[in-house]
């Protein structure tokens, strides 16, 4: 608890304490972000151009490695490193977009539902309960089977999986916050509802939403990889960590690097996001420690 307090109120007089708990896990996340943003410039080769004659070449520290292919080549002779870098772009774009969509929709629904209570609230909570009881991957498969796999569909499907947590937690917070004096005062002063919701309530819970969203990005990267692994996500030849992992699964015994690196990328980035989320939560909002996890 003392750490959390220190993080909430860093005492400038004591000199700067570097929050290692946040910085270290932020490194892989930052790297993935850089890779995603600068993919065309940092990737050594094209992620889709292959050379069948140079397929399944090992990474550079093994014998028979190919120059300019530091992490080896995949089934079609494409550069594994370049596919990782471009895959970061796809994974992060989808995860961030889906989280943004889900968090926005979920938070607004939670705000409104918690503020108005009554019949609307009962309906919303029932919908949330129903969705929580429904296996998400099954839902995703059904939606994608009908709509066809494409990036926008994927973002919407993943957002459907994300909004519930936001709605539930925001609603819970608003239920108690709306009774606070300052909210009542704003209402008494004649503030209209949107103003109360977005000027008085939202800033109070924004930190919770940010923390939650950080976890969500990690969770959604995994979900997107799962769907791509099942062949329902990003379509070939667009590189994606999940679909690369699936293609490589059969070849694990001959070419471990084709499966290992996309798998590691998913693991490290998601772990990083979770740890950053933890640290953010401690820093921004120690109270909700129990609620978000």
């Amino acid at each position: 608890m003392s750490e959390a307090i220190a993080a909430v109120a860093p005492a400038p007089a004591r000199g700067r304490r570097i929050p290692w708990g946040m910085v270290i896990p932020a490194v892989p996340v930052a790297l993935a972000l850089v890779a995603a943003l600068a993919a065309p410039w940092v990737a050594p080769a094209s992620p889709t151009a292959g050379d069948l004659a140079a397929r399944l070449k090992p990474p550079m520290w093994q014998e028979a490695a190919l120059a300019g292919r530091p992490l080896g080549t995949d089934l079609l002779g494409r550069d594994v490193l370049s596919r990782l870098i471009w895959g970061a772009r796809i994974s992060l774009v989808i995860a961030v977009a889906a989280t943004a969509l889900g968090a926005t929709v979920g938070s607004v629904i939670g705000l409104v539902s918690g503020y108005y209570r009554g019949r609307l609230d009962r309906v919303v909570t029932k919908v949330i309960d129903v969705q929580l009881a429904f296996p998400f991957v099954l839902l995703a498969i059904a939606v994608i089977a009908v709509a066809g796999p494409s990036v926008p569909v994927l973002v919407v499907v993943l957002a459907i999986g994300a909004w519930v947590a936001h709605a539930r937690i925001v609603r819970g917070l608003v239920l108690s916050l709306r009774e606070r004096d300052y909210v009542q005062a704003a209402v008494a002063l004649g503030a209209r509802t949107p103003r109360v919701l977005f000027r008085h309530l939202l800033p109070e819970i924004l930190s919770v939403i940010v923390v939650l969203a950080t976890f969500d990005v990690g969770r959604i990267i995994i979900l997107e990889s799962t769907l791509s692994f099942l062949g329902l996500g990003v379509q070939p030849p667009t590189p994606s960590w999940g679909s690369d992992l699936r293609d490589a699964a059969v070849y694990v015994r001959q070419a471990w690097w084709t499966a290992t690196f996309p798998g590691l990328a998913i693991m490290i980035v998601v772990l990083g996001l979770n740890l950053v989320g933890d640290a953010l939560r401690d820093a921004l909002d120690p109270r909700t420690r129990r609620m978000t996890r």
Binding site: L52, G231, Y251
Partner: protein, 510 residues
Amino acid sequence: MTSSWNRRRFLAAAGAGTLAVAARPLGAQGRSQVVISQPADATTMDPGRSTQVLTVNYFANVYDTLTRWDNTLKLQPALATAWKAVNETTWDVTLRAGVKFHDGLPLTADDVKACYDRILTPGKTVVTAGFATIESVQVQGPTALRLVTKKPDPLIPVRMAQMGGYVYPARLATDEGVKELARKPIGTGAYRFVEWAKDDRLVMDANREWWGWDGKPPAVDRVIWKPIPDDFARLSALQRGEVDVITNVPPDQMKIVRTLTVPATRTVAFAMNATQPPLADKRVRQALHYAMDIQSIVKNLYAGQGRAMSGGVADTDFGYNPALKAYPYEPERARKLLAEAGVAGGIDVALYAGSGTMVNDKQLLEALADMWSKVGIRARVEMVEMASRQKMVNERALPANSLLLINPQSTLLDADGSLWRLLHPTGLNGKYWIGSQPGQRFHDVMEAARYTLDAQKRRELYVEATRIVHEDKPWLELFQEVVLYGASKRVTLKPRADYRLLASELTLAR
């Protein structure tokens, strides 16, 4: 955590149990037993309801046809011992005497007629097309049959051997009867059905009274078919000795198990909707071929197991034209052809494949798209579910300027059962190419060949037809497949080019 550990332990225990059962090559009474694993279980045991190669393998062990291909694909007598053309459209067939069904009742001409009548009734089976030249079947005596064809049909003896032509008792050929047949098949074949637990095991015992044993006792008394869909799991099962024979070995994995191969009667191609520009232009279709390095694809994606081809007919078929060679990889020529066709700026096409159509299907599409991109052919890769693919095939709903991965098998070992089956106006690719339509030279040549009794004349017609296909490229021709089986050391097996896996052709080392 606890629950996952329990689950794992349960699975391990279940696996050990299977191993214990299967690892006994000799049954309790010293009987010899073989476990065969294909990637899929039979979808039915009614031979009228499937032409899927894996399912037909289950049929082929239980049922017999009137004629059959032996291991070297030579046509041999089976339930029929003799057949001759009485005139151009009438064939007399003599049935083998003394043949009994697995239920002990004798086989008569009435049974054959009932099965053939069912095939000839539209909508009752999925195999009608291969028998469509037959007008009627008449019973002339207990073992004498007469087949009357609509037009002269040189292929009657072969048609009697093709899939779908299996014989079962007349009482099971009714609408009610086939429902029973689908679950509890009764035939005259080398193996009789014992039991079937869907997706787990299908058990067959040797039929000691089978006419085909030739005086020798069956080498395998019991066959257990154990479907294992996952390639990796199927290979491991063979390595661990849980199964004796597996089909569909991925070419990349050939080295890790004892693999038996033979060039297949099956080809790999892309059906192509060439009804709209730019693919409606022959030069553009040729460009697709010149821009594809098929040798490299076969060598690298299929471990060299395949033979690049052109003309649409595999070398196992009557009508194969050895003069035709696959187009060489010449990207410059492809670019020139595109320019001549007025699309120097490149074209857009879509490549479709059902997930799981064949080994490395997705990689094949991606490699093609990558090769084509170098000459300006922009290909969108679309992997679809097998159900969507089936729909696309059945409804002939391939969009214009799209290609769909297919691996058709020759049903008659004759160009009529491959080229004309697929490029006939009602065939899989016939709707998509102008050359298939009546009045076009290709159509007329193939129709003429279908009704020509003189073999030499037919061969000449096929030479012309395959040359048209080679020139016009109504589809994207890739290569002829290779059959790849894995087998344990104790099994002797010669794979068949027609993919039939017959337990009666297996022998065991003692």
